[in-house]
Amino acid sequence: MKHIKVLMFGWEFPPHNSGGLGTACYGLARSLSKADVSITFVLPKRLDGLDHNFLKIVFANIRNVKMRGVKTLIHPYITADLYDEYLRTAPDSELYGLNLFDEVRRYGLQARIIAREETYDVIHAHDWLSFRAGIEAKRVSGRPLIVHVHATEFDRTGGHPNQYIYDEERRGLFAADCIIAVSQHTKNVITEHYGIPDDRVVVVHNGIDIEDHHRPLPPALEHIRAAGKKIVLFVGRITIQKGPDYFIKTAKRVLEFDPNVLFVVSGSGDMERQIIRMAADLGLADKVIFAGFVRGEELQKLYRAADLFVMPSVSEPFGLTALESLANGTPILVSKQSGVSEVLTHALKSDFWDIDDMTDKIVGTLRSSGLRETLGELGARDVLHLTWESAAGKCTQIYNDLLRA
């Protein structure tokens, strides 16, 4: 196999990320760069330039990766309203697009300039905000384009897509020479809702860097555990996609059987206020704790403090947090409507809407140390084979196939 040069349009890296996309881009890029692949990584540069400096540090000792920043206000979980808010407060606001969609177009044009300056064999773009950039790069270079779908508009909106975003995604999917989906679940969405033929979509499951989760850390929430309380954890953006409302409804039901449980919600998002109000209205003010957005070691400590991690996502392309929980030894209950449920054996699984089934499983788990141990131990073993090396290997194979064609 020859050395391959990739022009990659990606997103924020941890710890400055706001969700799984950043973790995935980072994990994949890191493993690719260790293989015989060199990457020119194009990513949005935020106002203060902090991110860019950080990235230089992240990749300082890894050859094969070159960073190109583009000044823009977009980030992976942006919405039209959020963009308008950013624009109002941005220092050089005249630089950016009039609205989100104008900005996406502008980002694409910026990408074209970079695409002309760089040399590469393939183009690899992550999620819809970068699809236009990928298409522009393909146009100026004639190189094959791979679009990597980490989430679709159908997942994000619980089945009520914004027409503009849907069109953008569809345009990217049709322009691509190969589509990578992070799960069979996502592949199904792509073929059913976007009219893409089955054979054009390849599934490459995400991975996890286990070592990152095996570091010794001081325990968290000790006073709560010492009081004999059990902890059930939700980690994710508080948006319709992640099913936080189902989590709260299930909490209410579980407490009818076991009042000695604390529910911890870690994350932020557009439904935050609604969910806090919902918890209060159901009389759960002292039973549900909103921990806000937690990352890094603090998040790992939360996973370890919990007795069970619950991911009731309405539609979850993958669900990296579930792997993180298992890597930290905590058993999981995930919705059947998730990508991770395809790759995990030792996990509890429910339909996201089936509050009774989730209640039965949560109460069952909290009451039995034997069940928690078995799920925790075997689940932790389950994630060992889900590595970024394996994902990077599959991507390299795709690059090679495209270049031979």
Partner: protein, 446 residues
Amino acid sequence: MASICFYFQVHQPYRIKKYRIFDVGHDHEYFNDRSERDLNNEKILHKVAKKCYLPTNKLLLELLEKHPEFKIAFSFSGVFLDQLDEFSPETLKSFQKLVKTGRVEILDETYYHSLAFLYSKDEFVRQVELHRKKVKELFGVVPKVFRHTELVYNNELAKFVEDMGYKAILAEGADHILGWRSPNFVYRAPNVTKIKTLLKNYRLSDDIAFRFSSRDWAEWPLTSEKFARWVDAVNGNGNLVNLFMDYETFGEHQWEDTGIFDFMRALPRELLKHPDNDFVTPSEAAKRYPVVGEFDAHNFVSWADVERDLSAWLSNSMQKEAITNLYALEGEVLATKDARLIEDWRKLQTSDHFYYMCTKWFADGDVHKYFNPYDTPYEAFIAYNNVLQDLRLRIAGTKKKKGGLPALSEARRAGVNVPPKKTVKKVTFAKKKKVPKKQVAAKKKK
């Protein structure tokens, strides 16, 4: 001389339905699934009776009539006989007809196909006695040979069963105990004086039970002529070929279209072609052949999985927790003298429940998954654990009837909660409020 000893295990558990936390305290019927799922005991019994029991019984009767030398043995679990009684009396009759020929021996086992020997010797004895009684009642015979659940066996069991008066006991001819020695002789445990141990020839048994229809097997297709030649080869270096297997091999594990019935139909004739071959039942084998050596099983062996140990039922923490919790209730359950409650507790001892919780091979989609009516071992455990919660509540309920207030604290200890909407709960709450905690404690002291 090579004597062929056929023993067939016939067992069906009472599978627990999808019993959820919401059912605890309301629904005491644990085994009455009526869905299309494989938890519906009646449905499964009818299916297996049609595919296996009835046609195989018919075939064996034909063979017994045709070959006066032909003999076989069965061991029926009590819960299987109960299900025949409940769902398929016709099948029971056809088994009785076989036994009436006088050339079909019945073995004893625990009524509930349990692992009670490992947790309560008293309960073990009670279940064996129940089984003897049932066999006598239905078939008019008293077994002389014992076979333990899933051929779980060790020296201690051999001794224990000898003291109960049995002449022989069956075990797996496990390589790690036999070493270079052959299973085709009669052995004895080192700590017994009389009882003989009959060892399963697992190669020849599994050729029929597991490999018969496997096209990856070099010997496929297996004909009765070929199999008879393998048995013939034992002459001169063995006395006895013990072919022990699940009865469901015929028609259920190996479907009719694999040719298993035709194979069996021709087998006695093929085996009898060799002048030195004959058929024996386990008790005849024990009587006829002398002990040639010691079979020393310090640890438990069984006929399950490649490990031939207890790991199919007792390897992960959930299995251990479930079975420990079950036997911890023994004293309280028996003290209730409530026949239905005691029977339910016993039905929960059936080893299959723990097998369904096995995580050993779960990922590979092999035999464990094939025989598991639950989607996952975790769901099997959760339903089981919920049932135990309900059982504790019922125990507390009977105490309440007898002794009044202490039952409340029992219920609380059982950790059972019932949604407030239901009237049952209200009654409990109302009583609880009337009696402050201190008073309850005071009454308890008295």
